[in-house]
C-alpha cells in the first residue's frame, strides 16, 4: 500500500479530485455505453420475436391501384 | 494513352465552360473568402500587432473554408443531370477523369483565391516577403484541398445533410496542409529559410495527386451504386 491511511488514499496529496473525477467519468461513461448496448440488444431481440409471432402481412399481397377518387365530403 | 488525355481534356473543358456560364458559382467562394478575412479585424482587433502575425493563418483558414464551401458543387450538378453516370461509363480509367475534374475545380476556385490573396494580405498588414511565401504555399496547398475534398464530395453525394457531414469528414484531413501552410508563412516572417517546408508541401501535393483520385473514384462508384 502506497498510502498510510484511507484519508491519504482519498486526498492523494491534493490530487484526489483530479484522479477520482477521471476514474468516475471513465467508469460512468463506459457503463453507459455498455448498458445502452445491452438495452439495444434486448430491444432488437424483442422486436424480432414479436415479428416472428405475427404472420407477416407486408408485401404478400400487391395492392392493385385503381386511382379511385377519395370521398372527402363527409365532415 | 492519347485517348485518356483527350478524354481528360474534354472533361476539364466541359467543367470550365459550364462554370464560366454560371459566374455566380465562381464568385461565391471568392466573396466568402473576403468576408471571412474581414471578420477578423472587425471581430478581434484591427491592430497591426494582431493582424501581422496572425495574417497568414487568417488567410489560410479563409481559403480552406472557401474551398470547402465550393466542394458541394464539384459532383452535385453532374450527379443531378446524369453526367456523372456517363463519366463512369467512359472506357477511360475513372480516376483519371476524377483527376481532371479536381484540376478543373482547382483552376476555378483555388487559383482565383491565390490571385486574390496579395490584395487581402496587404489589408492584414503582411509584408512583402511573407506575401510571396503565402501565395506560394496557397499555390501548392489549394490543389491538395481540391483533391482531398473530392473524396469527401464523392462520399456525400446524394445525401441530404451533406454540408455539415462533408466538413466533419474533410477538415481533419485538411489539418496537415493548414499547419504547414501557416507554419511556413510564420517561419518566413521570422526570416527563416522555408525551402524545406515548401518541399514538404510539394510532397503532400504529390501524394494527394497520386492517391486521392483513386479514393474519390472508388467513392463515386459507391455513391452511384446507391442511385
Amino acid at each position: 500500500m502506497a498510502f498510510d491511511s484511507l484519508e491519504a488514499f482519498i486526498t492523494m496529496g491534493g490530487h484526489g479530485p483530479y484522479v477520482w473525477s477521471c476514474y468516475f467519468v471513465f467508469f460512468a461513461l463506459s457503463l453507459v455505453l455498455i448498458q445502452w448496448s445491452r438495452v439495444h440488444r434486448r430491444f432488437v431481440l424483442r422486436t424480432l420475436a414479436r415479428g416472428y409471432a405475427e404472420p407477416d402481412t407486408a408485401g404478400t399481397s400487391r395492392a392493385s391501384a385503381d386511382f379511385a377518387r377519395v370521398d372527402t365530403s363527409d365532415h | 494513352m492519347g485517348s485518356d488525355l483527350s478524354a481528360m481534356k474534354a472533361v476539364m473543358l466541359r467543367d470550365i465552360k459550364t462554370s464560366l456560364r454560371q459566374p455566380q458559382d465562381l464568385l461565391n467562394p471568392l466573396l466568402f473568402f473576403i468576408l471571412v478575412v474581414m471578420l477578423f479585424p472587425l471581430g478581434v482587433s484591427p491592430e497591426v500587432e494582431f493582424l501581422q502575425p496572425a495574417g497568414g493563418g487568417i488567410l489560410w483558414v479563409a481559403a480552406l473554408l472557401s474551398v470547402l464551401l465550393s466542394l458541394d458543387h464539384l459532383f452535385r450538378h453532374d450527379f443531378d443531370d446524369g453526367t456523372l453516370e456517363q463519366l463512369m461509363l467512359q472506357p477511360q480509367p475513372l480516376f483519371l477523369l476524377v483527376l481532371a475534374k479536381s484540376i478543373a475545380h482547382w483552376l476555378l476556385t483555388g487559383l482565383p483565391l491565390v490571385v486574390l490573396t496579395p490584395l487581402l494580405a496587404v489589408m492584414v498588414h503582411l509584408e512583402g516577403n511573407s506575401i510571396g511565401v503565402l501565395c506560394l504555399t496557397l499555390l501548392i496547398g489549394t490543389p491538395v484541398l481540391s483533391l482531398i475534398g473530392a473524396i469527401g464530395a464523392a462520399l456525400t453525394l446524394g445525401l441530404r445533410s451533406a454540408g455539415v457531414l462533408l466538413s466533419l469528414m474533410i477538415i481533419p484531413l485538411y489539418i496537415p496542409v493548414l499547419i504547414f501552410g501557416t507554419g511556413t508563412v510564420m517561419a518566413a516572417a521570422e526570416g527563416a529559410a522555408v525551402a524545406g517546408q515548401l518541399a514538404l508541401m510539394g510532397a503532400f501535393l504529390a501524394l494527394a495527386l497520386t492517391l486521392a483520385p483513386f479514393a474519390a473514384a472508388a467513392a463515386l462508384r459507391i455513391s452511384l451504386s446507391n442511385g
Binding site: 500500500m1 502506497a2 498510502f3 488514499f9 492523494m12 496529496g13 491534493g14 490530487h15 484526489g16 483530479y18 484522479v19 473525477s21 477521471c22 476514474y23 467519468v25 471513465f26 461513461l29 463506459s30 455505453l33 455498455i34 448496448s37 445491452r38 439495444h40 440488444r41 432488437v44 431481440l45 424480432l48 420475436a49 415479428g51 416472428y52 | 473524396i151 462520399l155 456525400t156 445525401l159 441530404r160 445533410s161 457531414l165 466533419l168 469528414m169 477538415i171 481533419p172 484531413l173 489539418i175 496537415p176 499547419i179 504547414f180 507554419g183 510564420m186 517561419a187 503532400f204 492517391l211 479514393a215 472508388a218 467513392a219 459507391i222 455513391s223 451504386s225 446507391n226
Partner: protein, 248 residues
Amino acid sequence: MWQIFHKLGSPKWFYGIASRLMPWLLWVGVALFIAGVIWGLAFAPPERLQGNSYRIIYIHVPAAFLAQSVYVMMAVAAVVTLVWRMKLADVFVKSVAPIGALLTFLALFTGAVWGKPTWGTWWVWDARLTSMLILMLLYAGAIALGRAIQDEKSSARAVAVLVLVGVVNIPIIQYSVEWWNTLHQPSTFKLTEKPKMASEMWVPLLMAILGLYMLFGWLACLRMQTEVLVREGRTRWVKELIQQGGTR
C-alpha cells in the same frame, strides 16, 4: 484456407463462436482491468515529479492505446469490406466505431484533467492531445457517414473508403501536429516523455491495458451480435435461434 475465410465471414458461425468467447473475455477482462487499476491506484509508489496525479495513467494510457488501435482494426476491416465484400467486416466497423469514439473522448478527458495539476491548465494544445482530438473527429466522421447512407452495402463501402483515407492520414496528421507543436511550444513537459517507470508502476499498467483490450473484445462481440441479428433478422437461423430462446 478459403473455406476458413468463408466461414469467418458467415454471420451464423460468428454468432456461435462469439457466444462461447464472450464470458471469458468479460470475466478475465474485468479481473485484469480491476486488478491493474487497484494496484495502480493504491499500491504503486507515487511518481517522483508529479506525485499522485500520475495515477490517472492507469486509465488514460489504456484508453488512448485502445482508441488508436481500434481505428487501425477498423482500417483492416475496411480493406476486407472493399476487397472481399465480407459483411461481417462492416458489422465490425459499425459496431466498434462508437466504442472507439468513446475511448478517444475518455483519453482526451483524462488527459485534460491530468493536465490541470501538471501544467496548471485544463487544456494544452500539445501534440498528443491535439492528435487525439483529430482522431475523435475522424471517428465522428465515420459514424456520421455510416448513419447518413441508408443502403447497407453502399454505407459499408463508403465508410470503408473513409476509414482507409483516415488511416493513411493519421501518420501525416501526427507528424504535422508534432511539427506544429515544436513551432509554438518549444519546451513543454510532455505526457509522452516516459519517466523511468519502476516495475511496480508498469506491470499494473500492462494489466489494465490487457484487461481493457479484452473488455473491448467483449463489448465488440455484444454489439456485433446485435447488429448481426438486425441484419439477418429474416433468415431462418436467427428465427430458430430466437424461438428456441438461444439468445439468453
